[in-house]
């Protein structure tokens, strides 16, 4: 009963309610600007809310977090620049929809699906947090490595057209991710003795350049073409649409919660894995993936919002951050005199239920702010290209600079923009590059951790995999996906079942 009262705290105090609302609103817009990340906003808020009580401070931060994760989809859909890494997959199908004049529909679906995903995440946090965190702790370095390999296999579904070009792009991404001081030994890799390269290449700069700048350059080809008229009749998706995609959204939300709860992986990987999952299970999308499939929006958007609730799970039960934002929140709780850790749930259960309450509220606000103002936003894509292209460039530059306040990042961003333009021009997909950069560290660090733990003995390494049920499941999935995606399997399937090998996967 007290738990329920704590849960209701946020609903009964107008001041807290207002703060969650303000936070969510700000989050949607901060999240929409590439480079201005939720992490940054929350860390600024720590000093800002220092003198406040802990409840108002947490309310505001949770609002920003929830709103920001959602907000990343805005620019992804409208301009093909993901506002945050977790919106990369959203751009793949969202932007083609906007190009077709369906930006309103895309944003509407995204909003409702983010809302559903958000609730699945919060629900799991509320009822199953201790079990999920126990499960998340079971992941050993080799399991993270297998997860990363599973992620790398997404190259297949992210590369439209040539698989070989996709693999090349993915490998390039992994190489970009490896530049700089190796975090485990501090040895320099691929730095060629340039001080500039020592800190590595900012992944956000690569992302903004490849998506934003290359898009602006590509648009230059059509400067004189009229912009696409946006149909804005149907914004809120019909109940039938929601119902149709509900099974998929529940599956992808579960992926989001689990990946979000793992300390070391977050919304970005969750969204990409969910996208891949959608592609695998959706037999007949209305439109092909990459061309504006609704499923391609449903999956990443449910997953990245579900990952929010997921990220709170290890934070609340163990004091271990699920991602960068929860890491900062742990710091904030310390500053406010609380001791986040395994004892927090026992000593101060009110905090847990209060946070759950705030998340629920923020999720509602997200729905409200998401569905209003869409008409205004869709006008952005209707602007003449002569205005739109400079706008994209400006956003990209500001975004790249804001990440580390470093002008070097702007140069990287521009460089990768030009490079990305040529890649697109010659039919190389960009998704796998970003995928490679995201997964590079996860794969590299955990492979080395795993093999060092086994005293660099491959035999012991594999016996480790086969003696742990979790590793075994992951290992078998890797094999299955790998086999099912190669032409070999399609041929075999054709021979066994007498079907025609479709080969579109």
């Amino acid at each position: 009963m007290t738990a329920f009262m704590d849960f209701l705290t946020v609903f009964t105090q107008p001041e807290l309610l207002l703060l969650v609302g303000v936070g969510t609103f700000a989050g949607v817009y901060v999240g929409a600007i590439p480079g201005l990340s939720v992490t940054m906003a929350v860390s600024i808020l720590i000093s800002f809310t220092f003198s406040w009580d802990v409840y108002p401070a947490i309310s505001l931060m949770i609002g920003i977090y929830m709103g920001g994760v959602y907000g990343g989809s805005r620019t992804a859909i409208l301009l093909n620049i993901p506002g945050a890494p977790s919106a990369i997959a959203t751009a793949l199908d969202g932007y083609p929809m906007a190009k077709r004049g369906e930006a309103g529909t895309a944003i509407g679906v995204t909003t409702v699906m983010s809302f559903i995903g958000g609730f699945v995440g919060i629900g799991v946090l509320a009822v199953a947090a201790p079990w999920v965190s126990d499960f998340a702790l079971k992941f050993q370095p080799r399991d993270y490595m297998l997860l990363a390999i599973l992620g790398i296999l997404l190259v297949g579904s992210l590369s439209q057209g040539s698989l070989v070009k996709g693999i090349f792009a993915g490998a390039l991404g992994i190489a970009i991710g490896a530049v700089g001081r190796d975090p485990l030994t501090f040895a320099e890799r691929f730095t060629f003795d340039f001080q500039l390269l020592e800190g590595g290449i900012s992944f956000i700069a690569v992302m903004i350049g490849m998506f934003g700048v290359s898009e602006a350059l590509l648009q230059l080809h059509h400067v004189n073409k009229n912009s696409v008229r946006q149909k804005i009749s149907r914004i809120v998706p019909s109940l039938a649409t929601v119902k149709k995609h509900l099974p998929l959204s529940l599956q992808t939300s579960s992926i989001g919660v689990i990946i979000g709860a793992l300390p070391g992986t977050g919304g970005d990987i969750a969204a990409l894995m969910a996208y891949d999952h959608a592609k695998r299970v959706t037999k007949k999308p209305e439109r092909p993936f990459g061309d504006g499939a609704i499923e391609g929006l449903v999956a990443p958007e449910t997953a990245n919002n579900a990952a929010v609730g997921g990220a709170f799970i290890p934070m609340m039960t163990l004091g271990i951050p699920g991602d960068a934002v929860t890491a900062i929140m742990i710091g904030a709780l310390f500053i406010h005199g609380l001791n986040p850790g395994p004892m927090l749930m026992i000593d101060q259960p009110d905090m847990f239920w209060f946070i759950v309450g705030c998340l629920v509220m923020a999720n509602f606000f997200m729905l409200i702010f998401g569905l209003t103002g869409i008409k205004l936003f869709t006008r952005i894509v209707e602007m003449p290209r002569a205005v739109l292209i400079p706008l994209i460039m400006l956003l990209s530059i500001v975004g790249a600079y804001a990440v580390n306040n470093s002008i070097t990042d702007v140069y990287w961003m521009l460089g990768f923009g030009v490079f990305g333009y040529f890649m697109r021009h010659y039919g190389y997909p960009l998704g796998p590059v970003i995928l490679g950069v995201i997964l590079s560290r996860l794969l590299d660090d955990n492979w080395r951790r795993a093999i060092i733990s086994e005293q660099e003995d491959l035999g012991r390494f594999f016996s480790g995999i086969f003696s742990s049920p979790l590793s075994l499941v992951l290992f078998v999935s890797v094999i299955l996906i790998f086999v099912s995606q190669t032409p070999l399997w399609t041929k075999a399937k054709g021979r066994i079942f007498g079907e025609k090998g479709q080969g579109h996967e």
Partner: protein, 333 residues
């Protein structure tokens, strides 16, 4: 004409004195060497508001990460020595030179305040087949190479602690598994990926209290107030008193050449801020020892820390360049 020049000059002189007297007359930038949410970040963001109140100015804090903090250090070292750019850092820069991570360290800076010092602790997974330091050493002798120690790369706290154990015990045959920081390593410890982790007490204390990890020994010469029942390492081997007490620290710095009165004003502000009950409580809860020293005392602390640690790492063969090359004398010489 003459009157105008005299007038202008005196006006200039007035503004010049006024500028110093009125410091700070604009926002001060605080560059935090580590990422948001880390120990350094938490300490700086919690002490600075109290220091701002004492100073009567605003300090805008910003995280500047990369190259183990060297990017932030070089940035502040290259900014004007006017007291408007502060470096908020930890102990690592004192090891940059010998680790080949950079050619600058705190010698280029004047300490405003060394705020607090951490205490290292050896923690283990509750299922590990040993319950204290002595049992661990015995187990390692019987099973060479099988115990997995977490590490955070050369120069990090775990590397210094293992170097200490190596030099005191004459060897330590374990497998060091590298992690990005003590947070991820302690997560790995709780999941059983590693057996033992040398960590700063503040990072492990909540896990210890909850029974998710057990203390093998606190690396100190006396019992800790936060964990009065936990054994300390000199109980097992008195030879550790040569190196202890030792620990990572947090400090605020300005580039050398900053006017003395500005340094004095900032030092006074941070000294006051560090005594605020909220900050004192935070430091106690997290197991940090409050220091808040400045001036000669801080300089002496820094050079003693650097000598001791640099030579310890040198003797363990973990350095890229000898401390001698940079004029870091062996302790006691």
């Amino acid at each position: 004409m003459k009157r105008i020049i005299v007038g202008a000059l005196s006006a200039l002189a007035l503004t010049a004195t006024a500028a110093v007297a009125e410091y700070p007359e604009k926002e001060i930038q605080g560059i935090i060497q580590w990422g948001a949410g880390g120990s350094t970040d938490t300490v700086m963001r919690s002490v600075t508001p109290h220091a701002e109140a004492a100073l009567g100015g605003t300090v805008v804090m910003q995280n500047m990460t990369g190259a183990v903090g060297a990017i932030a250090l070089n940035h502040v070292a290259g900014s004007a020595a006017d007291g408007y750019t502060l470096l908020m850092g930890a102990e690592n820069p004192l090891l940059y030179k010998i680790m080949g991570l950079g050619d600058k360290d705190y010698n280029e800076f004047t300490p405003i305040s060394i705020l607090a010092r951490g205490t290292p602790v050896l923690v283990a997974n509750p299922d590990a087949p040993f319950n204290d330091y002595a049992e661990m050493m015995a187990y390692i002798k019987e099973n060479p190479g099988s115990v997995k120690f977490g590490s955070t790369g050369p120069g990090g706290l775990p590397s210094v602690v293992t170097a200490m154990i190596t030099s005191v015990e004459g060897g330590l045959d374990v497998t060091a598994v590298p992690y990005d920081g003590d947070g991820p390593a302690l997560t790995g410890l709780q999941g059983g990926a590693i057996d033992v982790m040398p960590a700063v007490l503040g990072a492990a204390i909540e896990g210890i209290r909850a029974g998710n990890m057990k203390v093998l020994a606190i690396m100190d010469v006396s019992a800790n107030e936060q964990l009065p029942d936990a054994p300390y390492v000199t109980q097992f081997n008195d030879a550790y008193s040569t190196y202890l007490p030792w620990g990572p620290f947090f400090g605020v710095f300005v580039p050398n050449g900053t006017p003395d009165d500005v340094v004095a004003k900032l030092s006074a502000a941070y000294a006051t801020g560090a005594q605020h009950p909220d900050f004192v409580k935070l430091m106690n809860d997290r197991g940090f020892t409050l220091m808040a020293i400045s001036g000669d005392e801080a300089d002496a602390f820094l050079s003693k820390w650097q000598q001791g640690t640099a030579w310890l790492l040198q003797d363990a063969g973990l350095t890229k360049a000898s401390p001698e090359e940079f004029g870091i004398a062996r302790p006691g010489e």
